[in-house]
Structures are given as structure tokens and as C-alpha cells.
């Protein structure tokens, strides 16, 4: 690419700061980007870049770097920040200006980093972020004096508000560092950098304390309400009960609130199928469109409302500041099975998708802890499992109340819980096998409570919708077309009495695989669906839609997968398939990322082996037990 051309035109600005000081929000504000923002540390685990154009028409390249407490890294993500700032990353030019983002409500923590960054010799602008919040809560400081003490411009920013970065942009434009000669000199790699000695670290602490005193920095007492909230939400027993109740409510809502929009989508898909049936003459094109694409893609698309509702709650909890409290609550449980407290955030991210979760393990300094977290991350129930769970629950679990609870929501909650318990059990086994492993306590900065930011919520939900629609319109659509081809050819021989799919490539494959899957109750249609489902879990739902549409002559089969499997499968098979999906690592992207993050094939192969083994065992036991209780 034209990295050199871009670099010659753009001024490279690096955003450096402590974890959770608002760097990514500021990055989004400056560049109009939509990177994920959350109210807890460790969201950014490697550098991201974006552009914006200043009032003088100069273009800026902004680098969003992982949060760090110092330039002497203890974790992989902190090392990225250090290496970019020093110009030590191959293929990465050194930034020409550093914007040090300091949380105005936690200035004492940021000052030591400011003093350290000053040693880099790069032009520096200090952005006092969340300055509106600090003012409202009674923090006070002399900004002019701070600027004089630091020898660098200090500007106020409010990354989450429109216009909140204007002063920073004006300062960047004004800065004398923009002269090309200064910028190019600054961009040279720092060859003489060395980590500070313990004496220098102590001296910088003393200097930071002196500056805080000089600028009259005043920290208000915590609000009474926040203290009372914490006393309740972080209570060892009461807090756990509240956490369980919250999660339970979320899964109830996923089923109860999504019913109407799911019916609308279902009706839209059915109308489209009927219109195509009426408009097209009999032939392969009609079969491709109706039985292949509409039946397959429509089966997955219908779960969009449930995904939106689930992520609405997850994003709202993130933004409110509750999740780090949940991490604190769960730390003791995680520590008892040998997991680091720092594993909470990566595991939480894995509920959306295991890939960012596995990448977030870079914040875990201990290698053993990091590998343990990577190995159990796929057991967290990612959003791709939701369509599979929702389909089977809707087909086999009665929509009735159990006390004040909905049975379908209860089963969904149980499946998520099963994933968590399995992960803890696997972590315990790993701890038991590696003698000498010791507990690393969680050190986490608790953010203040805040109302979820509507812009963040809207962006977050829009991002999830986009991801889902890209999958539906990309890999799922392509897979359905291929599966339609495999299910249609070769044509049945003359005089054949069965459905055409039984004589096709897919039919042959399904029957061959059924030898393996028959002991766990899977029929040949499920066996076929598991193959394209290796690319991504939800593809299996679309594949089932296509396979069943191709299996019968009823045109309604193209749009009504739920009743078809409800009538065609025994309960034991459905429960076995649910158990299979709690464990099965049916996501090639996850295995590829594990290979990249661990630097070899050993761990992804072990992961695939143990997860497929667990999936088969769980499905076998579930199937046999269900049969024994009359579920056949």
C-alpha cells in the first residue's frame, strides 16, 4: 500500500493514556469512526488508526493505542503502545505528535505517565478528558498552571459530546510541532530510550504529587448514592443474587420482547417466497431462489431481533459501569479454578464473539493464565449460537410459564449457564494439571456509575446489526447457494421414489456422516448441516432450512423450519443438538485466531480436540438420558 504517500501528507498523532480514560471515545470523536467503546479497561488491545481533516485542510492520521500505566510494559498490549511511541514496530512510522489523554477525574494516576511520555521528546498535547463530568462532580484544578508545570499545552475534552474535541483540534493546528522539519525529526525512532530505574520511578511519583499540589487539584468525596450502590451491588451474597437476577431477566426479555418482530420478519420471508413461487416458472432458478436462498437465509435472518435485544442489555450494562463490579464479584470464583482476575474482560467479550475475547487476553501478563483463558473462551456462548438455540427452543420447549418465569427463557439461561460452568470446570482441570500455578489477584479500576450513553448504545447496536447482516448477505448466502447445488445434483435416477436430495452429493455426504452421528441421535439432515456449520455456527440453521426445503414437495417448507423439525425430530435429538452446540468449536475463524495468538498449531489442535470430544460426549449422554426418560 501507499504508506509512504499517506505519511508524507498526514500528521501522525498518537493517543496515549491510561486504560479507560476515554481514548477510543476521543478517537471516534476525532475521526468519526465507530470503534467499540466500553466503560471498563482493556477494550483496545492493539493500535487502530483513522483520519480527519483540520480547519486548515491538513490531514491527520490518528492512532488509538492500548491503555497503559507506564512505558515499561508488563503485558502485550502495553508493549504495543511502548513500541509504537518509540518507533520500534516494523512497518510503523513513529508518531509526530502525542496526545496524552488524561481522565480529569483520575488525574493523579495519569500524571506519572505524562512525565514519562515527556521523555520521548515528541511534541505533546495533554487532553483532560471527561472534564465536564469532573466539573459537575466538584473536581478543581488550575489548568494554566498545569500547562506551565508540564511545559505542554493542556486542553479540555469531552469525548462523548458533539464538539467535545474542538479545542484539541485547534491546539493541534496551532502547535509549532506541525512544521515539517520538526515533525520529521520527531518521527525518527528513539534509539536511546531505556526503562526508568526504580529511583527515577520514585522521583516521578514525588514530582507528580508536587504538581498536583501546585495546581490545587481537589478530589471531591464520592457521592453518597454511589457508595450505597456499591455496598449493595458488590455485596458477596446480595451482589451475586442481583447479578444472577439481571442475567435471568435479560434472557427472559430476549424471548418475550422479540416475538412480534420475529413474526414480522417471518411473514416478510414467507411473502417473498410466495411471490417468487408465483412469478417464476418451474426450473432450477426458482429452486435456487426459493429452496436455496430464501429458505436458508430467511431461517437465519429471523433471529435478528433477539440478537439486538441481547446486545442492547450487554451494551447498556457495559456503559453504566456495572460490569467491572461484576468482575470483582466473580473474581473469587474465577480464582478458585485457577483463572486470573484479568480473565473476566476477555471472557465477557467472548459472549459477543470469541475472537475479540481471545485477542483481549493480551492484557493478561502471565503466559499460563493467558493460555488457560484462550482455551476456555470458546465455551462462552457467542452470539452465533443464539440462532441455533432459539430455533431448537422455539421448536421443542413449550412457551408456558413456570411460576413467574417463562420456560423458554429459563432453558436459554440454562444453556448460557452450562457454557460458563463448563469453562470453569475446564479451567479447574488445567489448574490441576499444571502444578505450581498460583493465583494472580485482580486489580481493576472501578469506573464511576453513569447513565448509558445513547450514542454509544446506538452505534453498538448498529455495529451488531451490520455484522449480522454482512454474515447473512456474505458467507451464509454463499454457503446456501453451494448447499443448494450439492443438494440438487446429481439428479435422481429414473424411477427413484425418494426425495431428490437423497440421491444428491449432500444426501450421500449426510448418510456417510450419519454413521458417526447416529449414536448421538443426529439424522442425516443434521449431519449435512454440521459441515457448512463449521465455517460459522449459525450457518447450520440456514443449512437446515435449505436441506428441509429440498427434502419435500410442500412449498411452505421453504419458510417454516420450526414446525418441520418440531414434528420430525424426537425431543432427545433436539436436546442432544443443544448439548453439542454448548461445546462444539464450529468456528474456523476462532481456531485461526488461536493459532495466531499462541504462535503455532498445538493449542488450536488441542482446543478443537477437547471441545469436539466434550461435544460428542455431552450430546451422547443427553441423548441417552432423554431416551431413557421417554424423549424418543
Amino acid at each position: 500500500m501507499d504508506a509512504s504517500v499517506i505519511a508524507a501528507k498526514d500528521l501522525r498523532v498518537a493517543l496515549v493514556g491510561l486504560p479507560n480514560c476515554g481514548k477510543t471515545a476521543l478517537f471516534n470523536r476525532l475521526t468519526g469512526s465507530r470503534q467499540k467503546v466500553a466503560n471498563y479497561p482493556g477494550v483496545t488491545v492493539e493500535r487502530k488508526e483513522g483520519h480527519f481533516v483540520g480547519p486548515s485542510r491538513r490531514r491527520y492520521l490518528v492512532l488509538d493505542l492500548p491503555g497503559t500505566y507506564s512505558l515499561s510494559p508488563t503485558t502485550l498490549d502495553e508493549a504495543i503502545t511502548r513500541d509504537v511511541a518509540l518507533g520500534r514496530l516494523a512497518g510503523e512510522q513513529r508518531p509526530e505528535v502525542v496526545v496524552l489523554v488524561a481522565d480529569a477525574t483520575h488525574l493523579a494516576l495519569s500524571l506519572r505517565l505524562v512525565l514519562e511520555v515527556k521523555r520521548l521528546g515528541l511534541p505533546l498535547v495533554v487532553a483532560l478528558n471527561m472534564s465536564d463530568l469532573a466539573r459537575r462532580r466538584g473536581y478543581a484544578l488550575d489548568r494554566e498552571r498545569l500547562s506551565r508545570e508540564l511545559g505542554a499545552p493542556v486542553v479540555e475534552t469531552v469525548a462523548v459530546a458533539a464538539g467535545g474535541a474542538d479545542e484539541l483540534v485547534r491546539e493541534l493546528e496551532r502547535s509549532g510541532a506541525l512544521a515539517p522539519a520538526v515533525a520529521s525529526a520527531a518521527a525518527a525512532p528513539a534509539a536511546d530510550w531505556r526503562d526508568p530505574t526504580p529511583e527515577e520511578v520514585r522521583a516521578s511519583h514525588v514530582e507528580a504529587a508536587r504538581i498536583l499540589k501546585a495546581i490545587g487539584y481537589r478530589v471531591p468525596l464520592r457521592s453518597r448514592a454511589a457508595v450505597q450502590f456499591d455496598q449493595v451491588l458488590m455485596h458477596p451474597v446480595g451482589g451475586m443474587l442481583i447479578l444472577a437476577a439481571l442475567l435471568f431477566f435479560v434472557f427472559q426479555a430476549v424471548f418475550a420482547w422479540a416475538e412480534a418482530p420475529m413474526e414480522w420478519i417471518d411473514a416478510g420471508v414467507a411473502s417473498l417466497a410466495n411471490a417468487l413461487n408465483a412469478a417464476l416458472p418451474e426450473g432450477v432458478l426458482k429452486s435456487l431462489l426459493v429452496d436455496g436462498i430464501v429458505a436458508g437465509v430467511g431461517s437465519v435472518l429471523v433471529f435478528l431481533p433477539q440478537i439486538i435485544i441481547l446486545f442492547f442489555f450487554i451494551l447498556a450494562l457495559e456503559d453504566s459501569g456495572y460490569l467491572p463490579r461484576a468482575a470483582y464479584l466473580l473474581d473469587r470464583v474465577m480464582g478458585s479454578v485457577g483463572l486470573s482476575g484479568r480473565a473476566f474482560i476477555p471472557l465477557l467479550s467472548s459472549f459477543a464473539c470469541a475472537i475479540p475475547g481471545i485477542m483481549a487476553t493480551r492484557t493478561i501478563p502471565n503466559v499460563r493464565d493467558r493460555i488457560a483463558t484462550i482455551m476456555i473462551a470458546p465455551l462462552m456462548t457467542c452470539s452465533a449460537r443464539l440462532p441455533v438455540y432459539a430455533l431448537l427452543i422455539a421448536a421443542f420447549i413449550p412457551d408456558r410459564a413456570v411460576g413467574w418465569m417463562n420456560l423458554q427463557g429459563l432453558v436459554m439461561f440454562a444453556l448460557y449457564f452450562a457454557g460458563i460452568v463448563s469453562a470453569l470446570a475446564v479451567a479447574w482441570v488445567m489448574k490441576w494439571r499444571s502444578k505450581g500455578a498460583r493465583y494472580h489477584p485482580l486489580m481493576l479500576e472501578l469506573p464511576d456509575y453513569q447513565w448509558p450513553n445513547l450514542r454509544n448504545l446506538a452505534f453498538g447496536l448498529w455495529e451488531r446489526v451490520q455484522i449480522f447482516m454482512v454474515r447473512v448477505g456474505g458467507i451464509i448466502l454463499a454457503m446456501m447457494v453451494l448447499l443448494w447445488f450439492l443438494s440438487s445434483y446429481p439428479a435422481p435416477p429414473p424411477g427413484a421414489t425418494g426425495a431428490p436430495i437423497e440421491y444428491s452429493f449432500a444426501g450421500m455426504l449426510g448418510r456417510a456422516l450419519q454413521v458417526v452421528f447416529a449414536p448421538i441421535g443426529f439424522n442425516w439432515q443434521i449431519s449435512i448441516a454440521l459441515v457448512p456449520g463449521l465455517a460459522a455456527r449459525e450457518v447450520a440453521v440456514g443449512a437446515l432450512g435449505t436441506v428441509y426445503a429440498m427434502s419435500g414437495n410442500d412449498p411452505d417448507l421453504a419458510t417454516t423450519l420450526t414446525p418441520v423439525i418440531a414434528q420430525g425430530w424426537p425431543l432427545a435429538t433436539a436436546l442432544a443438538l443443544l448439548a453439542w452446540y454448548v461445546f462444539a468449536p464450529q468456528c474456523l475463524s476462532t481456531l485461526a485466531v488461536v493459532k495466531r495468538e499462541t504462535g503455532g498449531w498445538r493449542h488450536p489442535l488441542i482446543m478443537a480436540g477437547y471441545l469436539f470430544g466434550l461435544a460428542y460426549l455431552a450430546a451422547f449422554v443427553t441423548y441417552r438420558v432423554a431416551l431413557a426418560f421417554g424423549g424418543g
Partner: protein
């Protein structure tokens, strides 16, 4: 006949797309970089290869997820310590 031709084209396109989407990110990035270098200046390079290469550029966080448009992620190699 026309119907069969359209269906065959759709199947071929789906096969190509699936193969591309499931190819490891590093291999995709390398292939596109070589293709870009091999092609001379022209509309094919500007309109097809460069946009694809831009999407395959190293990206972080959620953009590295297989479900994101730029599923490719190539971590920057660490330079030798001076």
C-alpha cells in the same frame, strides 16, 4: 437453458467467495500484495485490487473477527531491539 446458466454462475460465484472468505488472512494479504505489484497501473489495480487490499489491511479489535468485513488481520512484526 438461460436459467441453468444463471444458476451455474451463482454457484461459481458462491464457491469463489467461500474459498476467499475461508482463506487465512495472511495468505489473502500476501496474494493481494503480489497481485498489486504484478499488475501495472490501470483500472483493474485501482478499482479492484486496491480496495480489496485496503479491506485486508491489518485491523484490530472487533474488526479482526471473522464476521467483520475485513476478516484479515496480520499482526505487525516487532522490530529488533536496538
Amino acid at each position: 437453458m438461460l436459467q441453468q446458466l444463471v444458476a451455474a454462475l451463482a454457484v461459481a460465484a458462491a464457491a469463489l467467495y467461500t474459498a476467499w472468505a475461508l482463506t487465512p488472512a495472511r495468505a489473502r494479504f500476501t496474494a493481494l500484495s503480489r497481485l498489486e505489484a504484478a499488475l501495472g497501473p490501470g483500472p483493474l489495480r485501482e478499482r479492484l485490487v486496491r480496495p480489496l487490499l485496503k479491506r485486508a489491511l491489518p485491523a484490530g479489535g472487533c474488526a479482526s473477527c471473522g464476521s467483520a468485513p475485513a476478516a484479515a488481520h496480520v499482526p505487525p512484526r516487532r522490530a529488533r531491539e536496538p
